[in-house]
Amino acid sequence: MGSGSSVNANYKYSLQKSENAFKAAVLIQRWYRRYVARLEMRRRCTWRIFQSIEYACEQDQIKLHNFFSYLMDNFTPSSSKERDFISRMFISGESFKEAELEKYCDYESLEVPDSYTGPRLSFPLLPDHATALLEAFKQKQQLHARYVLNLLHETRKHLKQLPNISHVSTCYSEEVTVCGDLHGQLDDLFLIFYKNGLPSPSKSYVFNGDFVDRGKQSLEILIILFTFLLIYPKEVHLNRGNHEDHMVNLRYGFTKEVMQKYKLHGKKILKMIQNVFCWLPLATMIDQKVLVIHGGVSDTTDLDMLEKIQRNKFISVLRGKKRKESNRNVEVKEINGESQAEPDSAGNETMSSLPSQPRPAQAPSMTNRVEFSRWVRQTVQEQIEWCRKLVDISDSEEEELTCSSLVSLTDLDGPCWTRQEEWKQILDILWSDPMPQEGCRENTVRGGGCYFGPDVTGNILEKYNLQFLIRSHECKQEGYEFCHNRKVLTIFSASNYYEIGSNRGAYVKLGPDLVPHFVQYQANKTAHTLTMTQRISRVEESAFRALREKLFAHTSALISAFKLYDKDNTGKITLSNWATAVESVLRLGLPWRMLRPQLVRSTADGMLEYKSWLDDLAMEQRSQEHIQSSLLEVIYRNRSNLETIFRIIDRDHSGLISFEEFHQTWKLFSSHMNIELTDDGINDLVRSIDFNKDGNIDFNEFLEAFRLVKQSQ
């Protein structure tokens, strides 16, 4: 064939080559797309893990109230000492009348030494003070307690003049910027100011609550926000969030932060902040068309009532719920981590029911009059305190609760009823979440507020002639999210909330046309240098660490559940049954089959040897081997509540409680949880940390000892 055929052969060869190359490319693309999809699945699963654990944690609040209710309703103190101890838990601190507050939180007597190099504030505040503060905080300096207290006093004075619902108009300053949860993440606030500019007469801001807790610089954020509030009162607006609440702060870190930073004056600062929080406005209205609230709305939300409430009466918005006697066993078992069929949350408990009254302790004999009258007074006092605790109202200047008015209070109707309605209005505004389905039902996950559907939103918008709602309260991957057909906007400003790389933060700007413009950001340089894979892996690791801890904390219950599928006692179960069993115990609603590859490393013939799997989880807690495992589990499951209880007992916020108090707490707690705990058992607990602080226990140290050790990289 000669040269012709070799040309053809070359041509054929090169065509073949390009065909191969093309096919190779398609194959690589096929493979790569599968890789990306798997990554996306992992990302979403990680997000689910974090969210379900976060909301499960909020259920701790319910468990805590159950514990307190248990103490009130069922526990019979075996000694007056025990009764005293219990009653101390319910007195969350003295309530101050106005004049007393000023005196207690006095700042003028505080001397600022010459050696102090931080910013010095004078009132009225000027823009220079704000820039000085920003600069100081960037340099990690601390504001002197005197100025902190002074600032808080002035803030309180200012807030008292404000109505419950602030009004903003876009005709004064062209744009309004709305920011969501910050949660102590100062870097995010700096980023927002950097990208958007500082508050000024031409730059209005609305900060929609949750300034504190979780992040480590909550106090700095408050100081900055309050400073700008005082400098630009027309342009800066703050809404109260559910974390602007001292009961929540006990659990989520703000109280701890203040006490660590201000060892001498922290208690005063906290007291002032408590009083400032309750004076924060509840909502902001933009151009009468856009309602900005922290949580959401309910089908009973009434803006007219909200405007008229005395908002400062509600220092803490948290409360326990009435439990029907028949449900109690169910709850105790649930707390113990055993699986239970859940009672239908939609029907049973109504938000308007109240916890049952304290049963007075045994009355002393009538023969000793002095004793008896003291007992009566004490019992009555307890009753009064209990009612106060219901809504945690401050000492009212007008009302004097006397023995005679006690009758109407014990009726638990009448005066308390109106308080009830008011309380519900605030609770709903601060705690509710939107849901896709129509209707309005109790938010059992958070233990407060409700889930509201698009119909509820529609009704509110129509009733008050609004265009849409802006709220925060829920972390969103992109920093913001619309729902209810773009009628509800969630804006969340704390980036990397769960972990570095977990989510962006965002803020929204509205002009006179009220069309939202978003700016997103992520406040951590390292997040940008990581590839998508690395970012997702890192967040994933963090999520799974938390999940493994949860699994460990339910070891006993898991073994029982696994045994149900292993009647022949082979020690093995199928992976399918593993998934079902784990969900029945943990009840986190997670896609366990998707998560399995990361949780179960090895199988024997496709079956899981569950005992050794659980042992591996326990391996991470090797240092605590001397403590009985069931107790260990209790600690893990209830660490957040234990911390809160310790903090309540620690009334002077020193971080220390006496050995006696520690002992008492455990005795009560174990009684409530129905677990055996001997004195030796408690001593073992104490030994788990090296304490020698004059017979006191540093409970922070104690609790730190019960965190799963970080997996090495």
Binding site: L27, P436, W592, M594
Partner: protein
């Protein structure tokens, strides 16, 4: 017939269905058993399948509504996906096949592909190639068939480069890249 783990065939199907439902729910935003049609690819792939874009389109045709709503309902998806998993369609690409593929793009067999070359191959819109590589057929019936490519979007290309490209050499050293990327693809379907 009992399998080695003591599961009968019904059990296998039930387990597959649970797994599909779980994966589906991860992408189900509103909890109403519907997902955006654009997420179906991710769901199918995260269940261990490696379909091409063309194969995915075929699948979509089977699961979409008569009047396309932009959503796919679990009801329709479940049986189709179950069959795919049972039939083991779109099975994984073994590591060595992947390596050969990269080598096919590496003309000089140098162990790396330059950024420009990779971009060219990955964003190729299609190619004309002989419908048969049989030399006799080729000589007698010189026909070309156009194969549509499955080009990367700009985003996909950027993302792949961000992890694959060695910034110092501006090239992809594919052996390293592959070993970094290969995930433990344990086949967790019951036998």
């Amino acid at each position: 017939m009992m399998g080695r783990a003591g599961i009968c065939k019904d059990g296998v199907i039930a387990e597959i269905e649970k797994k599909i439902t779980e994966a589906f729910e991860v992408f189900d935003r509103d909890g109403n058993e519907n997902v955006d049609v654009r997420e179906i690819g991710s769901i199918v792939r995260s269940l261990g399948c490696f379909p091409t874009e063309a194969e995915l389109h075929e699948l979509l045709a089977k699961v979409e509504e008569e009047e396309p709503t932009g959503y796919v309902h679990l009801e329709k998806f479940l049986p189709v996906m179950t069959k795919i998993l049972l039939d083991r369609s779109y099975r994984p690409i073994p590591e060595d096949v992947l390596l050969h593929a990269f080598e096919a793009l590496d003309e000089k067999k140098s162990g790396y592909i330059t950024k420009e070359e990779l971009v060219k191959h990955m964003t190729e819109e299609g190619v004309d190639t002989p419908s048969s590589s049989n030399p006799v057929a080729f000589m007698s019936a010189y026909r070309l068939e156009h194969f549509p490519g499955e080009p990367f979007t700009e985003e996909e290309m950027e993302e792949m480069l961000s992890s694959a490209l060695d910034p110092e050499t501006n090239a992809v050293h594919y052996r390293d890249y592959i070993s970094m990327m290969i995930v433990d693809e344990t086949d967790d379907l019951p036998q």
